[in-house]
Assembly symmetry: C2
């Protein structure tokens, strides 16, 4: 019964997402939907990614949160265009929210748009926003058992960033088991251990993303 009720919402979202995707492709922008738990380090990872790629690409960010504009302010403080979306209570972004946010951005000048979804390992996986790739962050303190509990997000993500890797000695995190379970759920997804706030080991992740941006440029 719930599936029937939610179907019209999902259908409308998919239609608007396809329109968003046409807008992105017409402008030649690669769009990333970044998903993670609250406090996994989404904004810090975006800042580290900006630091690695801003010399090569023109970047903007859309920040999704239930409330507050602290994340958009952090991004804007680095001179990067940032639009904050407040969902009110919704646990994920939807395509119409993205559409409205786009009107605040100068799309013709951009190479990369990063969408930071609401902190949640469930809801964001079900909503296509028009992005070219969904990527997820798991932070070491959350524990290596998360792929067992939230398999959906690990299956849909095209890459998995393992953040706060510098604290792996502090927590009982079994990296080998984590990689094995992620690989069984999603054999193609690379795992990138990083420490976003310290800027450690961000290069491999940034190069993967640059590869996707270049492939998108060649295609559009």
């Amino acid at each position: 019964m719930q599936i029937d009720i939610s179907r019209p919402i999902l259908d409308k979202n998919e239609r608007l997402a396809a329109e968003n995707r046409a807008i992105f492709d017409a402008a030649g922008i690669f769009v990333l939907d970044l998903m993670a738990s609250p406090g996994a380090g989404k904004t810090s990872t975006i800042l580290a990614t900006i630091a690695a790629l801003r010399g090569r690409y023109s970047i903007a960010v859309i920040e999704g949160d239930i409330a507050s504009s602290v994340d958009a302010e952090k991004i804007a403080a680095h001179g990067i265009p940032a639009v904050q979306i407040n969902t009110g209570g919704a646990c994920h972004l939807e395509s119409d929210m993205i559409r409205r946010a786009l009107s605040s951005l100068d799309l013709g000048t951009l190479d990369l748009l990063i969408i930071e979804n609401v902190g949640n390992l469930v809801c964001p996986t079900e909503f296509y926003l028009g992005e070219h790739a969904k990527v997820m962050i798991l932070s070491v303190p959350e524990g290596h058992d998360k792929p067992y509990k939230y398999p959906g997000i690990f299956q849909i993500a095209e890459a998995v960033i393992l953040n706060k890797y510098d604290t792996i000695e502090v927590f009982d995190f079994d990296e080998s088991e984590f990689r094995q379970v992620v690989s069984s759920l999603n054999p193609k997804a690379p795992v990138f251990p990083i420490s976003a706030t310290k800027g450690d080991s961000v290069e491999l992740w940034a190069e993967w993303l640059a590869g996707r941006i270049e492939a998108n440029k060649a295609r559009t």
Copy 2:
């Protein structure tokens, strides 16, 4: 529009929650709905709470997860009755799931039922399950800015457990700011810093919970 569509689901949930509450009160059980992000330490906190209170109270646990039964297995390994609910994809527990789980428990023998909700700071706040109190855990690695971003859960929680407190030196967590914002959102809610996996400082939280169990016993 979305509010209209979801209204029948919420109404049905509220009705079943009221029935659950009547069942709990008839059996004299205090029921706690424990909410937190993925990996904040819900299961570890439940284990620490069990260790503190099992001499005084008869306890059972209902574990909510999208998938897997790892949490229920961890609880059952300590000789405590544990029922695992797998929501499939839903980001929160609902009253009918609780009702079905109750059939696996010997309610007449229990003083305390702890419900571990799905890891999420948004969805579980909107669904009353029949519990006597909602309590939340924030873990230090998630950051002190979470009350700005997820005010709803901090407002509805009757107590806030600050877990992984032993790692506060590793992370840039401003405890004073955190307490100030929590207090502005929810002046009555106590904040309990604990380290669940080490068993540190669990006593104050356990005594608060014992006080609620006793008050409930006196009332029913």
